[in-house]
């Protein structure tokens, strides 16, 4: 990390420690996400169960990060960049915990879907979307570690692609449901899954914005590029 060292080495160790915890948590969340998409595609219930159990570790890490951050604030009275680091870390932990919950939800639904008939191409698309979102998380956390504003801005911009992917999936599921009402149940689940993955993407963007706040001292001014049109237009009529 390019920061200068504090005279008190214990302070440096505390800050590094809490950031390491965040990275660890991020790793767990990324793995959970990819594994959940894999479980969906390969209809692997055992893997899904494992992911659901693994969410406990993610929640425990969030609590540990909060305790550590509170301790740093109480004992070290951080200021300026150090203070923003601690606050950012707390917010990122909260965001990652939500992402972990979505991954858990994905795993839960994949178990249900494994009992139903497969919707052709859905699992693949979901997997591709999950991969893109996992990359978002990875890049957002990388931008935290490297204190890289450019990377964080890029993550923010790429959210539009995630939104496009979600739009496409939304239309596709709508089409499937209109074609054959027997698909409705499966497509509803798939739709929720896609929505959750899109929410994870939003959280990743939020993480990137927190990183920009940490580095520059203020949140980015321009609104994040939003391409999600599903809530503002009627896609059903366009068949």
């Amino acid at each position: 990390m390019p920061n200068e060292l504090h005279i008190s080495s214990a302070f440096d160790r505390d800050l590094e420690g809490v950031q390491a915890l965040v990275l660890k948590m991020g790793g767990l969340v990324e793995a959970a996400l990819l594994d959940a998409a894999l479980a969906l595609e390969s209809r692997d219930d055992a893997l899904a169960a494992k992911i659901r159990k693994g969410d406990k570790a993610i929640d425990a890490l969030e609590e540990q990060i909060n305790v550590e951050a509170a301790r740093i604030i109480a004992l070290r009275a951080p200021t300026a960049r150090d203070l923003r680091t601690v606050l950012t870390v707390m917010k990122i932990a909260a965001a990652l915990e939500r992402c972990g919950d979505y991954a858990k939800n994905l795993a839960k639904r994949s178990v249900v879907l494994s009992q139903m008939a497969q919707v052709p191409g859905a699992a693949g698309a979901i997997r591709r979307m999950a991969k893109a979102v996992q990359l978002q998380i990875k890049d957002a956390l990388d931008s935290l570690i490297q204190r890289d504003v450019a990377l964080a801005t890029e993550v923010r911009a790429r959210d539009a692609e995630i939104d496009q992917m979600y739009n496409a999936l939304f239309r596709e599921f709508l089409t499937h449901m209109m074609e054959d009402p027997r698909n409705i149940s499966a497509c509803m689940h798939l739709h929720f899954i896609a929505k959750n993955i899109e929410r994870v993407g939003d959280h990743a963007t939020g993480i990137a914005e927190q990183v920009i706040y940490l580095i520059s001292g203020s949140l980015p001014e321009e609104a994040r590029p939003k391409a999600d049109v599903t809530s503002t237009s009627d896609l059903a009529g366009r068949g």
Binding site: I7, S8, S9, R13, A20, L21, A70, R71, A74, A77
Partner: protein, 265 residues
């Protein structure tokens, strides 16, 4: 990574170095310290905090019998260092002070050379046999006090010619030159600027591996930064004593909470 931190933060030994039981201190008729019981652990930094006049400095000075120099001061109760009562009539306070070193609030180097400052203690206690050994002791002490690199070329220049932070580190080097087992520090940073303070605090953190350190400070933030155990004194009584992180995030006694959050004192 976090395992390392947790190990560091924990005290590495639970063996008490100094045990105080029922200690009362009277200045004439004034009852300054009221029945204090405390266990100070080895290889740990213990901080005494509290508002002005709460008795923390008085109690600290009991630990090396510096209160003996004040005629009207009377100490009752038991203070055990390695299970030996230091107020036993057989104990010579001069010998005690070679084992329990002290650093004071205002840096007070002797008006001699830097070398002589550090060498004085070992010389009068006869700890070295020849000049080579004395040189070695001086160098080790200055290195441990993080001062060697700054003064190694001018050991013969007067100790009073150093800056405030350097003088205080010189006093620390002087105190550790007699290889004490306990280091008492009475508000060591109160006369220093923030950078010098941070350097001394970092030094105290490294000294912990060799000594038992007890530090009195009127800055709660300093106690938070530097200690593993904190004792809160108020009006002569020991109100609360525990692990530092615990004291500053979840104090048990409401008086402690009031003091720490700036509501009293």
């Amino acid at each position: 990574m976090d395992d390392l931190r947790i190990v560091e933060r924990d005290v590495t030994t639970q063996i008490p170095k100094i045990t105080a039981r029922g200690v009362d201190v009277f200045y004439g008729d004034a009852h300054a310290i009221k029945s204090v019981d405390v266990d100070i652990l080895d290889h740990t930094v213990t901080a005494f905090i509290g508002p002005s006049g709460c008795g923390k400095s008085t109690f600290l000075r009991c630990l090396n019998r510096m209160n003996d120099t004040i005629d009207i001061c009377r100490v009752t109760g038991e203070i055990l260092l390695d299970r030996e009562n230091i107020y036993d009539p057989k104990v010579d306070s001069v010998q005690l002070r070679a084992k329990v070193g002290m650093v004071f609030q205002k840096p007070n180097p002797f008006p001699k050379s830097i070398y002589d400052n550090v060498a004085y203690g070992p010389k009068i206690h006869g700890l070295t046999r020849n000049k080579a050994e004395l040189d070695a002791v001086v160098e080790t002490s200055l290195r441990r006090a993080a001062l060697w690199n700054e003064v190694k070329d001018r050991l013969q220049s007067p100790g009073t010619g150093l800056s405030g932070g350097q003088q205080q580190r010189l006093c620390i080097a002087r105190a550790i030159a007699t290889s004490p087992e306990v280091l008492l520090m009475d508000e060591p940073c109160s006369a220093l600027d923030p950078i010098a303070t941070a350097q001394v605090e970092e030094l105290i953190d490294t000294l912990r591996s060799q000594f038992c350190v007890v530090i009195v400070t009127h800055s709660m933030q300093q106690a938070a930064r530097v200690s593993q155990r904190t004792a809160f004194f108020h009006l002569g009584t020991l109100v609360e004593f525990g692990e530092t992180g615990q004291i500053f995030t979840q104090p048990q006694d409401p008086r402690t909470e009031s003091y720490i959050s700036g509501r009293i004192g």
